[in-house]
Amino acid sequence: MTAVAELLAPRKPLPGGLSRGLVVASFLLPLMIWAVVSYVPFVWHPKVEVVDPGSVSYFREGMLLDKERFNEEAAKAREAGTAVPTGEPANPVYLPAPHEVLTAFYTSFTAEPTRRSEQWLHESLWHSIQVIFWGFTLSSLVGVPLGILCGTYNVFSRLFEPFVEFFRYLPAPAFGALAVAILGIYDGPKIAIIFIGTFFQQVLVVGNTTRKLDLSLLEAAMTLGVSRFRLLWKVVIPGILPDLYRDQRILLGWAWTYLIVAELIGTSSGITWFITQQARYKNFDNVFAAIMMIGIIGLATDILLAKLGKRLFPWEKKG
C-alpha cells in the first residue's frame, strides 16, 4: 500500500506525530488564509488607504476609499497638474489583519476602556458566563431528572415527551418580549431564553440516552434482588452517567449559541453588548477579539470537561 492509501484507510488511527500535526494545521490553515488575504495586496484589497491627500480637498490621511474613486480623483489631479494623492491598497474596515486583532486582544486586558460607560472585555465575559451558568444549571436541574424518568418509565415518556417535542420547535428568541414582560429587563429574561433554548432539547436528549441503556442490565439487577424503585439509583443513573456527561457537554455548547440572542433582550449586556458597542465605533479588531474569546472559552471548557470525564469514568473503554 502506498503512503497516501495508508493515510486514507477508513477510521485507522494515525501515528501520534502526524495526528498532533494535523490538529495544529486545522487551526493554522484558516489563520494562513486570513493572513494571505490581509497581507498580500493583490489577493483582495478592494480599498485604498490615503497616505497623502495631495490636492484632493476631501481626502484625509488614513481615509479608506473604493479603489475606483481614488483612481478617478488621482487622474483628475494629474490632468489638472496639481499634487497627486498617494495611497496604499487596503482591506475594508470590517476585516482587520491578524496582528491588529492580536493587539486588540492584548490591549483589551491591559488598557483601560476609552469611554466611561464601557466595560472591560473580561467584565463583559464574566457577566455572560454567569448568564450561561444560571440558564444551564436551572435547565439541568429540571431537564436531566425529567429526561431520565421519560427514558425509564413509559408513563412519563407519554405524558411529557409529546409536548416537549412540540415546544422545542418554538424558537427560544421568540419568547424574548414575553420574558421581558414577566422577568424585567435585567438578567432574568436572558437566563430564561437560555433555559428555553436548552431545556426542551435536554429532556429529549437525556431521555434517548436513558433509553439506550441495555435493558438486560436492569433485568440482571432485578434477579439480584433490587426493587423496582431502587433500580433508578442503583442501575439507571450509574449506567448512563458517562453518556449523560457527554450530552451535557454538547448541550452546554448549544447554550452558548443562545447567548448572543439572549443578551440582546432587555438591556443589552455582557459580551454581546461589548461586541455591538465596539462594532458601532468600527473597532472591528475588538469585535474579532471578543468573538475569538468566546471560541477560546468554549473550546477550553470542552477540553477540560473531556479530560475530567476520563478521570470520572475509568470504566469507559479507552479509544
Binding site: D214, S216, L217, E219, A220, A221, M222, T223, L224, G225, V226, R230, K234, V235, P238, G239, L241, F313, P314, W315, E316, K317
Partner: protein, 306 residues
C-alpha cells in the same frame, strides 16, 4: 461413522440408575405446573408455551433444549420472574413465584455485568441489595471470586475481561446471593468452542462443590448431554414438553465420554426429537439449495486432489 450397535438411550447402568433414584428422592426445588404463555401479536394470538409441567430436585442439573421458536427463553424468563405466565404455576420450595427475586439467580446470554463496577463490586451488588453490610459483602464476594478463579481480577472493570471471564463473574455474582436455583439462559452461546468447553467443565466443578440446582438452556446438543442429569426437550409451535430424558452417561463427566455409546445414543435420540420430520427437513433443504452458476475453469476442481 460405521453403524455400531448402539444401546437404547433409555438403558442405564446400575450405577446411573441408583444415582437417579437417589436424586429423585431429594426434595423438589422447582415445580412447574401447567405453565402456558400466549402473546398478543399483529397476527392475532400466538401460543409460545402450552401446558409445560416438570419438577427439578435439589442439586439436579437440568438442561432445556429445543428447536428455535420452542419458547425456551420465554420459559426461563418466566421462571426468573421477568415475564408473567398466562396460566399455570411456578413453585419454588412449594411457594408461588411472583416477579424476580434473589432466590432465583440468573446468568444471561449477553454480558450483563455492570460496566461501572469492578469485578468485586459486581459480585457484592446482590449482597448489598439484600442489605448485607459492606464488610460482610466484601469478604463473601471475594470468596465467590476465588471460587471462579478470578481473584487476580477483583479490581478490574468488566471491559478488561475476556468473554469467558465475564461469564465466570456473572456466575459468581448470581451465586453470591445463595439462590435456591441457578437459571442459565444459553450462557456460553457467545463464546468460542474452546472457551465454551472450558466453561462447561468449570460449571460442573462449581456445581459439584456447592448446594445449587441448575436449570440450563442451550441449543447445543453436546453441551446438554455433557452437563445435564436430565434434559427437558421442548417442541416448537406451540412450545410443549416433548420428553424429559434421563442422561445415561455416568458421572463424573469428562470430554472423552462424547464418543461413548451412551452419549451417542442420547444424541441420536435428541436429534430425532429436534428434527423429527425427515420429509419436512428435505423440503427445507431443497428450498435452501442455491442455484449456482459455475464460475471456475473446467478441470480446476477443489474437491479432486491430484
Amino acid at each position: 461413522m460405521t453403524t455400531m450397535e448402539l444401546p437404547s438411550y433409555l438403558q442405564q447402568s446400575a450405577k446411573v440408575r441408583a444415582r437417579f433414584e437417589r436424586l429423585k428422592s431429594r426434595e423438589v426445588i422447582l415445580d412447574v405446573a401447567g405453565l402456558s404463555k400466549t402473546f398478543e401479536s399483529a397476527h392475532g394470538q400466538t401460543t409460545a408455551l402450552r401446558d409445560i409441567s416438570f419438577q427439578t430436585h435439589r442439586r439436579e442439573f437440568v438442561c432445556v433444549i429445543g428447536p428455535s421458536g420452542c419458547g425456551k427463553s420465554t420459559l426461563i424468563r418466566i421462571l426468573a420472574g421477568l415475564e408473567s405466565a398466562s396460566g399455570g404455576d411456578v413453585l419454588l420450595d412449594g411457594k408461588r413465584v411472583v416477579g424476580p427475586g434473589p432466590d432465583r439467580g440468573m446468568v444471561f446470554q449477553g454480558y450483563t455485568l455492570f460496566p461501572w463496577l469492578t469485578v468485586k463490586k459486581n459480585v457484592m451488588f446482590g449482597l448489598e441489595a439484600q442489605g448485607a453490610g459492606k464488610a460482610r459483602s466484601e469478604s463473601e464476594a471475594l470468596q465467590w471470586i476465588e471460587l471462579v478463579g478470578l481473584e487476580a481480577f477483583a479490581n478490574a472493570y468488566p471491559h478488561q475481561l475476556s468473554g469467558g471471564m465475564k461469564q465466570r463473574v456473572a456466575i459468581a455474582r448470581a451465586l453470591a446471593n445463595q439462590p435456591r436455583i441457578l437459571l442459565m439462559d444459553e450462557p456460553f452461546g457467545a463464546l468460542d468452542a474452546q472457551t465454551r468447553a472450558k466453561m462447561q467443565s468449570y460449571l460442573l466443578e462449581i456445581w459439584k462443590n456447592i448446594d445449587i440446582t441448575v436449570l440450563f438452556i442451550t441449543h447445543d446438543l453436546d453441551e446438554a448431554i455433557f452437563l445435564a442429569d436430565r434434559i427437558l426437550v421442548l417442541r416448537a409451535n406451540p412450545g410443549e414438553v416433548e420428553e424429559l430424558i434421563e442422561v445415561p452417561v455416568p458421572r463424573p463427566r469428562h470430554l472423552d465420554q462424547t464418543v461413548s455409546p451412551e452419549f451417542i445414543a442420547t444424541k441420536k435420540r435428541l436429534e430425532a426429537l429436534i428434527h423429527p420430520d425427515e420429509e419436512e427437513l428435505e423440503q427445507t433443504m431443497a428450498e435452501d439449495k442455491l442455484n449456482m452458476i459455475r464460475m471456475t475453469e473446467v478441470g480446476d476442481e477443489v474437491e479432486s486432489v491430484e
